[in-house]
Symmetry: C2
Subunit: 448 residues, 2 copies
């Protein structure tokens, strides 16, 4: 037990949000509701269904998918402290830093492969990374993402490139529906896993000479996962990367080249402008073939709004039958970043349509009953139980955005009536108490 | 780096959900969407606005609110491992086990007291407790809750009892709107903090003799927080509790008695049946005056659907000006438990309204373009890029719930047309390709 001094010191403590997190307050919530509503409609139109996975998973799941050597796993996982009670399952757990790993885990655990030839999921929820917080970078942030997973009928199927274009098209459509303008779509291909290997060897060859001029962190990347050098935020590294002649590398197989061409042609069918960026690789281990990124200048240094790509081999890496080739791809959109650039102010909505004023304590009980009847009838209504002058209560009604105010006053109540005031036009009517719900229903409840 | 052997062993690992967590799969999601939609409408009608707080907070916030000696803080907190990097804010963090503490923290941090005389929040999201999982008890579960917080104009205000009745009424209204029937409302009063102290002394007196016949855990409760004995799940303890003559304790002040009577009278005005249960105290430290619990027999041993009460002093304990008396109360509903007893099967909805079949690879490109146009027009549509016989593709269309199927076949395409088949009535029409979107819009997009 704590001593008395400690307790009194604790008494004055003001608790604050944990670093890098945010509250979403009532005045901001309508922007979230609108975005979520639009996301649900657009995803449904594309044939995607929502899935929700837990906030935490086995740490190893993320190491196996995102990559043991990735910054996310090495530096940014927010892990749970191990549980005290010995409950038989003591695998280390971490808050999910992204959505793909959990959804592939769910796909396999619930045997979706036997239920449908292709599974189209979307998700919408909090993700967690122990990053140094900055603009557009929080420790708890929110992503909207889709994942499209199914067995591939054959190993090399050019027609699957339509899905890559569909997924990029869905991402663009979502951003447009959120009111985001002026974003840029960048795409690249990493080819098959074999091509990626050849790409890696080529990079190793051309970067070897410059190795010493790289920062220590980037030198470490050279040996651990050379693709991450292409993602480096260091200026000297970015300049070296810009000099690389990617075409000369010639690491893409015929099939990979055709696949990329087909995906680009399908994107043109969708009238989506894009830029080919040969050094775009994304910081996660699991991608192959098409990767893409959608960025927005207004975001500054953290300018990625959305990113994704194809990750066919991940499904097997997480436990699927190694004999079955898979087609799997998806993306995630950063919701906080969208809200930073979306051209869509919150639509102010009334907190309540009806506000009820009691001019004396003895009218609180009938006011309480009336408010209850209004709410049951589907009309948003509230009442102030702390009383006050008509002026101060009217101010309150205004503040809550009330369109009609019901006043329980001495004179009116003698006739079992109340005054109902239209706050927009100012006129005031005397209404018999047992007809108020009908009267207000006609105003607020749309017919049909 | 891991050795090759370890890697190949890892290859075959199947990842499963962490213990005590669940995925919400696409086939279950419509029940969640419906419940969330209803919750939003009902809460809005009562004048409540949504707030979202982070999944984790400072551990001390929960110790200060829920109670240092509570089971929740002592045994069930899921805490985060301390961060490696020294970032200046090394307060221990835990996943939130309930919603009230975070919302009071947000109320104070964002100065709602200066913005409005009373704040009405609702929240809807995951909560986390490291409990032994069982039916109706998960480590990640979901709660819908409301909190109603504002400064009280005077120290003892009988009219605030209307708010207690409103909050219980809202809880009942929500459960009804979710299709829950046959639930029981139990209420009690703990009185003012002074009364609660007298209640505690009385319990200490009457339980002293029986102390030795209690289980060790309940003996510990006797000294740490005697009210928790009334919550005990142990049979021998429950029998002792049943023998207590609560009325004889006479620990309620005049004001507290009047307050309880007024709240009950307002509940009767709302036509809510309730039972008075003098040993109902709830396992959290922060309650005073009215506490309530709504239970459902069908849930078995974990039968609480919803619970809440008044917690006026908590706001000061978490940092508000000690000179300002507060009125604060709320409740939380367990969503998983509601879904276990709600009389509301999921309404099956079509995954897509239109399914497009290409009978040859060369028709995939026009099919891709048509599907895109349909989606842009707001019609949910999908296409199978892996081809197949007409029979197998029709099966697929059926499985996805398609109401209309568009077929790109050799004969039709000679005339720049497709066949459109109504899956319910079976008739099939030939439609010129550039009129298909119009044709299907007339079927699926409601006018007005």
């Amino acid at each position: 037990m704590r001593g008395a001094l400690t307790v009194s010191k604790m008494m004055i403590k003001n608790f604050l949000l944990p670093r890098g997190t945010a509250d979403i307050l009532p005045e901001e919530i309508s922007r979230w509701h609108e975005l979520e509503q639009k996301a649900r409609i657009v995803c449904k139109n594309y044939g995607y269904r929502e899935i929700r996975t837990p906030a935490f998973e086995e740490t190893e799941l993320f190491a196996r998918s995102v990559g043991q050597t990735s910054d996310i796993v090495q530096k940014q996982l927010l892990s749970l402290a191990s549980q005290k009670e010995g409950d038989g399952s003591n695998s280390p757990l971490s808050l999910r830093p992204e959505g793909t790993a959990s959804i592939v885990r769910a796909y396999l655990q619930h045997n979706f492969i036997h239920a449908e030839p292709i599974s189209k999921f979307y998700y919408l929820g909090p993700m967690f990374r122990g990053e140094r917080p900055q603009k557009g970078r929080l420790r708890q942030f929110h992503q909207l993402g889709v994942e499209l997973i199914g067995p591939a009928k054959q190993n090399e199927d050019l027609n699957l490139a339509f899905l890559d274009a569909e997924v990029i098209g869905l991402c663009v459509q979502l951003l447009r529906s959120f009111g985001v303008k002026g974003f840029k779509v960048k795409i690249n291909t990493l080819g098959t896993p074999q091509d990626k290997q050849a790409f890696s060897s080529y990079l190793r060859k051309v970067l070897k000479e410059d190795l010493k001029s790289l920062a220590e962190e980037d030198q470490k990347r050279f040996s651990e996962n050379i693709f991450r050098i292409l993602d480096s935020k260091k200026k000297e590294c970015q300049q070296i990367v810009k000099k690389i002649d990617f075409a000369k590398g010639n690491y893409l197989s015929d099939f990979s080249q055709k696949y990329f061409e087909k995906a680009k042609s399908a994107l043109r069918d969708l009238r989506i402008d894009f830029e080919e960026v040969p050094y775009l690789v994304r910081g996660l281990d699991y991608y192959n073939h098409i990767v893409f990124e959608i960025s927005h200048e207004a975001l500054g240094s953290q300018d990625t709004l959305a990113a994704g790509g194809r990750y066919d081999t991940l499904v097997q890496q997480l436990g699927a039958d190694p004999q079955t080739p898979f087609s799997a791809l998806g993306f995630a959109i950063g919701i906080e970043r969208v809200l930073l650039v979306a051209d869509q102010p919150a639509t102010p909505t009334a907190e309540v349509n009806v506000f009820v004023l009691a001019m004396d304590e003895k009218f609180l009980q009938p006011a309480f009953c009336l408010v209850n009847e209004l709410r049951q009838a589907g009309i948003s209504a509230d009442v102030n139980y702390q009383l006050g002058s008509i002026k101060s209560q009217m101010r309150l009604a205004n503040k809550r955005g009330a369109k009609q105010v019901v006043i329980f006053g001495e004179e009116e109540m003698k006739e079992h009536a109340v005054s109902v005031k239209d706050m927009e036009h100012g006129q005031q009517n005397k209404i018999v108490l047992n007809q108020v719900v009908d009267y207000l229903s006609k105003i607020f409840i749309k017919k049909g």
